[in-house]
C-alpha cells in the first residue's frame, strides 16, 4: 500500500485521468506455446503479451485451454513447445514456487484454501516467502520472529480491511460461505504483493451482488497497487466491462486478441460462441 503513495508522488504522467496506472510495456510474453497431454492437444501455438498494469481477460468455451494457459504461466505445466518470457527473461522449466517468488500469484477455479487454518492465517501464509527468521528465533518467539509476525500481521490486516472480511478473520475458512472463501483466496494472493495476479474464474458461482463486489475488488487492486491482472471469466458482461484487452481461445487455439470492442465484432468469436459455421 505504501508503494501507491511513492509512485503517486513520482509524477502524474504515470497515471490516467481516472487515477489508474498507465498501461506500460510488455511484462510477460507467451510465445508459440503448445501443450499436450498424451495425444490430447490442450494448447496449440498460442502467443500473446501481457502489458504492465493492464487487466487482460482470457475467455473461451469450456475446454478451450484457459486454465491450462494459466498453469503454463505459473509453471505448473511445462509446455512441449514455445516459451514464456517474464520481464525480458526466458524461462524454460520452473516449479510453481519459483513463479510465486518471481511475483506471480494466482487464485483457483475451485477454491484452494487451507481449510484447517483461519482466514487470517491463510492470508499470513501468502507472506511466508518474505519471512526469514530462523527456527530457534521462532521456537522461542524472540527478536526477528516476533517482529516479523507483528509487522506482517499489520500488512495482512490492511488486506483484510480492503476486502471487508474483518468479522471472519479468526474463523477457520472451511466454515466460511463460498463468496467469502473466494475473497480470502484473493487476499492470500494479494498478501504476496504480486506484480501479476492470475485469477481463474474469480466470479464463478456468485450472485449478482457478490460479482459486483468482486469486480470492485479487482478494479481497486489494479488501480491502487498497479497490479497486472490476467483473469479467466465466463460472464461476458463482466469481461467487457472491466478488462482492457481480451484474448479468446477455442479448442486450444487463439481466435482473437484485442480490446473488448474489437473482440465483440470479430467474426470468428461470434461463430465460436453462437455456433455459426461449426
Amino acid at each position: 500500500m505504501s508503494s501507491t503513495a511513492v509512485s503517486a508522488a513520482s509524477g502524474s504522467d504515470a497515471f490516467t485521468a481516472d487515477g489508474r496506472h498507465k498501461i506500460g510495456g510488455v511484462i510477460l510474453s507467451v510465445q508459440n506455446i503448445s501443450l499436450s497431454f498424451g495425444g490430447v492437444r490442450a494448447l496449440t501455438n498460442i502467443s500473446f503479451d501481457v502489458r504492465q498494469h493492464e487487466i487482460l481477460a482470457i475467455i473461451g468455451p469450456n475446454g478451450a485451454g484457459k486454465s491450462s494457459m494459466l498453469n503454463v504461466i505459473n509453471g505448473f505445466y511445462h509446455p512441449q513447445e514455445g516459451k514464456v518470457i517474464h520481464k525480458g527473461q526466458e524461462r524454460k522449466r520452473m516449479r510453481p514456487f519459483m513463479a510465486a517468488r518471481a511475483g506471480i500469484a494466482r487464485t483457483f477455479q475451485n477454491i484452494a484454501l487451507f481449510k484447517g487454518m483461519s482466514a487470517l492465517d491463510n492470508i499470513m501464509t501468502g507472506r511466508n516467502t518474505m519471512m526469514k527468521s530462523g527456527v530457534l528465533a521462532q521456537a522461542f518467539y524472540l527478536g526477528r520472529a516476533r517482529k516479523e509476525e507483528t509487522e506482517h500481521r499489520e500488512f495482512c490486516e490492511k488486506i483484510i480491511d480492503f476486502l471487508e472480511i474483518e468479522a471472519v478473520r479468526k474463523t477457520p475458512v472451511g466454515r466460511l460461505p463460498y463468496g467469502l472463501q473466494k475473497r480470502v483466496e484473493l487476499g492470500r494472493a494479494l498478501a504476496a504483493q504480486p506484480e501479476i495476479l492470475l485469477l481463474d474464474e474469480p466470479m464463478a458461482g456468485m450472485n449478482l451482488e457478490e460479482k459486483e463486489d468482486m469486480c470492485r475488488f479487482i478494479l481497486d487492486v489494479n488501480k491502487e497497487f498497479g497490479t497486472t491482472i490476467v483473469l479467466i471469466e465466463h460472464d461476458m458482461g463482466v469481461v467487457m466491462d472491466i478488462s482492457d484487452r481480451v484474448v479468446v481461445l477455442d479448442y486450444g487455439r487463439k481466435l482473437a486478441d484485442g480490446t473488448p470492442d474489437e473482440v465483440r465484432a470479430n467474426q470468428d468469436v461470434i461463430d465460436a460462441y453462437l455456433g455459426g459455421g461449426h
Binding site: F76, F97, A100, F108, M117, Q138, A139, R153
Partner: protein, 359 residues
C-alpha cells in the same frame, strides 16, 4: 468464575498474538504449572511418580513430536519407535563417549542426531503420501531397531544388548539419571524439559514455519503455488518431529526405565504414540498432552480398578479385560469426537462462553 472473553480487548497486534490471549487461560496455565512444579513433587509417592508422571511426560514429548509431523505437516509416520530408539542410543553413545558433557546437552544432542536420521527417512515423503508414506516410515522403524540390535558398537559391546543409563547430575550434585537418582529430581528435571519443548513447539506452529507445514497438510499444490517449497517444508517437519522423538527416547532410557534394549522401542510404541496423537487431537499441542495422559493413565486405572472396587478377579482375567476396555474406550472416544480430546475441550469452551444461555 466464568470462562468469558467479553471485555478483554486487545489494542495491539502483538497483544492479540499471544499464545493465551484470554485471561482465564493464563490463570489456568499458571495454576497447572504451580501444581506440577510445587505441589506434585511434595505429595507424589514414588509409585505415582515413576508409573504415571514420568511416563506421561516422556510420552508427551513423543506425542508432540509425532503431532508436528502428522497433525501439523500431514505426513503420516509409523517410525516413531525407531526414532525414539535412535534418541536413546545416541544419548547413550554421547554420554559414554563424553562423560563430562552436561546431561542437558546430551539430550539436546541426541535430539539433533535423531533429526538428521529423520530427514534421511523423510526424503521419500516428497514423492509418496498418506498410507504409502506410513509404509515407507515403517522401513525406518524396522531398519533402525535391526541396526541397534546387530551392531554391537551402539551398546558399547555389551553382551546382553541392553544399555544402562550412566549416572549424571545437574547443578553439580543433583543426580537425575542412573539408579541413585531420586525420583523427584528425575521428575522435576523432566518437567522443566517438557515445559520448554512444549513452548517451543507451540511457538513454531504459530510462526511461519508452522503455517508452511499446515499449508502443505491442507493443500500441497496451493502451498507450492504461493511460494512454499514442498521438499524443504516436509523435511523440516521430519527434522523437528524427530528431534522431539529423539529426546523422548533419550528420556525414556535415561529417566523412565534406566536401561533399555532396542526391542523396547518396537512397532507397538509407534502405534501407541499414533493413538495418543489421534485421541488427543491432530494439530494441537494441548491434544498431545491429553492423548499421552489418556494412554498412560488408563491402563494404570484399569489395572488398579478391581482392587479399589474390592472385586476379586484373577490376574490373567484383569489383563484381558484391560485390553478389551481399553480398545472399547478408544473407539468410543473416536466416535464421540473424531477430532480428539483437544476438540472436545474447545467445544466445551465455546459452550461455556454462552452458558447459561443456549443461544
Amino acid at each position: 468464575m466464568l470462562y468469558r472473553e467479553a471485555g478483554q480487548f486487545k489494542t495491539s497486534y502483538a497483544a492479540d498474538q499471544q499464545i493465551f490471549p484470554i485471561l482465564q487461560d493464563r490463570v489456568g496455565i499458571a495454576v497447572i504449572a504451580a501444581i506440577a512444579l510445587g505441589v506434585l513433587p511434595l505429595v507424589a509417592t514414588e509409585y505415582l511418580t515413576t508409573t504415571i508422571l514420568i511416563p506421561f511426560l516422556v510420552m508427551s514429548i513423543a506425542a508432540i513430536g509425532l503431532n508436528i509431523l502428522t497433525g501439523y505437516a500431514g505426513q503420516l509416520s509409523l517410525g516413531t519407535g525407531g526414532f525414539m530408539a535412535t534418541g536413546a542410543f545416541a544419548a547413550y553413545k554421547l554420554s559414554t563417549a563424553f562423560p563430562d558433557l552436561n546431561i542437558v546437552f546430551v539430550f539436546l544432542g541426541s535430539g539433533v542426531i535423531t533429526a538428521f536420521v529423520g530427514v534421511l527417512f523423510g526424503i521419500p515423503s516428497l514423492r509418496i503420501k498418506g498410507f504409502y508414506l506410513a509404509v515407507a516410515t515403517l522401513a525406518a522403524q524396522f531398519f533402525l531397531l535391526w541396526l541397534f540390535n546387530k551392531v554391537p558398537w551402539f551398546t558399547n559391546y555389551s553382551s546382553s544388548g541392553v544399555i544402562s543409563a550412566p549416572p549424571r547430575a545437574i547443578f553439580g550434585d543433583i543426580m537425575v539419571t542412573g539408579s541413585s537418582a531420586h525420583y523427584t529430581a528425575k521428575y522435576l528435571f523432566l518437567l522443566v524439559f517438557v515445559g520448554f519443548l512444549a513452548l517451543a513447539a507451540k511457538n513454531l506452529t504459530r510462526c511461519h514455519l508452522g503455517r508452511a507445514w499446515m499449508a502443505i497438510r491442507d493443500m500441497d499444490i496451493a502451498a507450492e503455488i504461493i511460494g512454499i517449497k514442498p521438499l524443504q517444508t516436509k523435511l523440516s517437519a521430519f527434522a523437528i518431529s524427530s528431534f522431539y522423538c529423539g529426546i523422548a527416547g533419550a528420556a525414556w532410557a535415561f529417566i523412565y526405565t534406566g536401561s533399555v534394549e532396542p526391542l523396547a522401542f518396537s512397532i507397538e510404541i509407534s502405534f501407541k504414540v499414533l493413538f495418543m496423537v489421534i485421541i488427543g487431537g491432530l494439530g494441537s499441542i494441548l491434544g498431545s498432552f491429553l492423548g499421552a495422559g489418556f494412554m498412560v493413565l488408563l491402563p494404570v486405572i484399569l489395572t488398579n480398578a478391581p482392587h479399589i472396587l474390592g472385586l476379586n478377579i484373577p490376574v490373567d482375567m484383569i489383563s484381558h479385560l484391560e485390553y478389551m476396555i481399553f480398545g472399547a474406550l478408544i473407539i468410543f472416544f473416536l466416535i464421540v469426537e473424531p477430532h480428539g480430546l483437544a476438540r472436545l475441550w474447545q467445544i466445551g469452551k465455546e459452550k461455556l462462553r454462552l452458558w447459561p444461555f443456549p443461544y
